[in-house]
Symmetry: C3
Subunit: 347 residues, 3 copies
């Protein structure tokens, strides 16, 4: 159920330094650390000898000495010293190396065939690229299938109910959502013209009514960027032209089939030196996503408890349905999107 | 292993009100709430859209709005409003409705084919029917197969050992137990003539020796009522004629294959306005049943640990053996009671 | 994966008295107690009636009364009283008896066919036999496959890394280890000539350099005795002649496939009345083995997490490889040791 030969976020760049950092991605345990020259090393987090996690080992320069019998691997995972010095290490003795790159503030690890790893395929989070943009956020561990998180982010309808006291407003249900696929991305958009500002946007509204926009971009295999904002009606913003831009950033990395790491944040291209604003946005997001996680973990438990029931897709799920179709195709499970699914299920 | 097309207690009537109440019965998660006109509604506790428990939703009159995307179901579980108002709900979109009735102080839910639900089939707890009777008790969650609880209640012999300090007395082992099946009920009875009173009955004994009776009625699929009491020997009570009657009430509802909800209490037809007596009886029962639960949960663990061993049936298990035979038949597993089982196993 | 028809330690003799003692060995739950005449009784820890652990029962002389329905078994596990006194117990009604003997300070239970139990087959811990020897130690529950513990004890190399602050010293890696099989025992030995004393041996070194020895004996099915010590170089000790002898004692008993009881201790043949020395040795061992357990439990988790990876055997694993080959043969899994395994895997 995981799409392989893909880049997945394994952490915020800022969270990975000289210390040994370990995380499971798509069921594979991976050790990451920052080499002395500044780039990252990633390898399977198990000693090639007796499988003790290398992350329990000792770092010696850019090598890791296993804490059990003292085998040493280099930054590429190759054994360079055996437990008994006199023994000769051969080329097959290694912790499998993972391609890893840093971009957009994240460390991305390649799950699949290492030879196929192409940094040009890193998901395009252009809205997280300095110096024009500032990005900040945090990491949550969520006990649910990563696809439930994608469904959540690609179905804007839930805001009115899950987030009633922050970004929700009942007018959300009155405006249509347009869904399309462009360049392999699923795009959902909704424009709310001339509405009151929801609680989280009161300051931006400057006391009056606003235009509000939400444009979700699903970027395979499991990322979602959402262009969100409001502008006072009198400013005459349009979908094509709202120069002040602020994105909600979501990189969702499967840990196991029923658990995920959720790297979330916000980016913007205005007032980017304003740290108080950055911190305030992060605090609002943290509260909003905690509300989502309560729902998502309950949903996961309910799916496991009610094995005889199936989730249904409505018109509002069009984004998630298309994102799942792309994931299925990338995972080699299906060759095309199911054409008439939505209409059928909603009748 | 569950008998279907049966009424099971899902809660004490008094515990189910306007709040959303959720409980798993025979592996099915069920939402219950009291409608504005006073009767109960019950439906599968999963939104027909994305399976979030409806019990996490918001009650609006007699409808429930799912907290995830806002789908609304009525008290019969039918979708009456879609997440996007413009979408049309069809008849197939529903949380399955469960027949539910209130009787004898309990709410009973029907597990099986809803069309077959007949309130006349509610297990006959006539000794819990006001105004002649008062009933009170509580609910325990027990980590064991519900049939172990039935075995326990239908084998009076355990009292001498499990409940030595309350209702146990060594004389229990000296008197025979009669077992029979009548009108689909398994009946066990024991009459202890002219014995000292056990600790819990000292007050009733008025300082002298007593006659003591225990008559257990197994009422399918998983209920046990036990007519218990003592009378001073000089009162000349008989099994047929002991007008002061006090029953131990036990409704055992399977939650999963290895966990149960145990609704227990006591009913009596004397001094029914005496709340202090009611509370005292309940406190004694709570202590006695805690002792049982320690045993039953250890027994369940031992069954799981010792997969190569089988439980044996002795003469004292005649009640449980017959009750299990009825359950097997109701569950479609067997066509008749094993006739010679007890004699064989005890030789 | 367990070798049957073997004696396993079920406890320290001193820990088993009049109280009912229960432990799982090779997946079988076993009750042990000391009879009034002083020897031990052992039987399956489940009542032959309804499987409640007999260890929850009441001891009456040398019999056990089950706490559930009062069935009584004698010290051989035979039912001698039924829950209803009038019922007759037959010969088949019993908790299976286990052969049990006491030797070398331990209680040993026979797992397999009781008729085949021969006390002469108790693993030979001759270095734990008073009056020439004193032995003391403790018990740890370890969440790992028992064979990982054997691997650990039979690969002396880990000391430099896991126990760097106590018995480790970097010189350990400079001296060869000799491995051989003699009389069904796997023997590993290493002689470190003229080295500094590691921290735990500073007192014995008397301020100078020492000769140090380590000789590990694997004694099937799952025991390891290690002859360890240092002597000041000027004393001219040899492997064949170091009269002051001190052994590390390790009896490892599988509980389940992934958990074990680890009975560890030390024995010595000098200064045997010195209780302070005995206590000091035990304290050092406790600290050392805690370090091992942290590693071993992490290794077990890693094995379970990384199902696609296999442990590799190097020259330093020769002892564990041979011990595992013996275990496989005893468990009926293989007929001989894999001859060329080590050479192959290390090239």
């Amino acid at each position: 159920m995981f799409a392989r030969n893909q880049w997945y976020v394994i952490g915020w760049s800022r969270d990975i330094g000289a210390d040994l950092y370990s995380r499971m991605v798509c069921g594979e345990s991976i050790l990451v650390f920052r080499k002395e020259e500044g780039t990252l090393a990633a390898m399977r987090d198990a000693c090639p000898h007796r499988l003790l996690p290398l992350s329990m080992g000792l770092r010696e320069g850019d090598t890791i000495r296993c804490r059990y019998h003292g085998l040493v691997v280099d930054a590429d995972g190759r054994t360079i010293e055996m437990p008994l010095k006199a023994d000769r290490a051969n080329a097959a003795l290694c912790a499998a190396k993972y391609p890893i790159v840093e971009r957009y503030g994240f460390a991305w690890v390649w799950i699949g065939d290492a030879e196929a790893a192409d940094p040009a395929l890193v998901p395009d989070f252009w809205m997280c690229a300095p110096p024009e943009w500032v990005v900040d956020g945090d990491t949550y561990h969520v006990r649910c299938d990563y696809r439930l998180l994608i469904d959540n982010l690609m179905a804007l309808t839930h805001e009115a109910h899950v987030h009633a006291t922050s970004i929700g407003q009942h007018e959300l249900r009155d405006f249509p959502i347009d869904t399309r696929v462009e360049d392999g991305k699923v795009i959902l958009q909704r424009w709310l013209a001339d509405v009151p500002a929801p609680p989280a946007y009161e300051a931006a509204a400057k006391g009056g009514r606003v235009d509000r926009w939400q444009v979700c971009y699903f970027i395979a295999p499991s990322n979602v960027a959402i262009d969100v904002g409001v502008a006072p009606v009198e400013e005459g913003a349009t979908l094509a032209n709202h120069p002040v831009r602020s994105f909600v950033i979501n990189a969702i990395t499967p840990e196991t089939e029923t658990t995920s790491h959720y790297y979330w944040g916000a980016s913007r291209n205005v007032d980017i030196e304003n740290r108080a604003r950055t911190a305030q946005t992060k605090a609002v997001q943290a509260a909003v996503f905690k509300e989502d996680i309560e729902i998502l973990e309950a949903q996961q438990r309910s799916i496991e408890t009610n094995r005889d029931l199936k989730m249904r897709n409505f018109s509002i799920d069009a984004g998630g349905v298309r994102a799942r179709a792309i994931i299925r195709r990338l995972a080699g499970r299906a060759s095309a999107e199911p054409a008439a699914l939505l209409a059928d299920e909603n009748e």
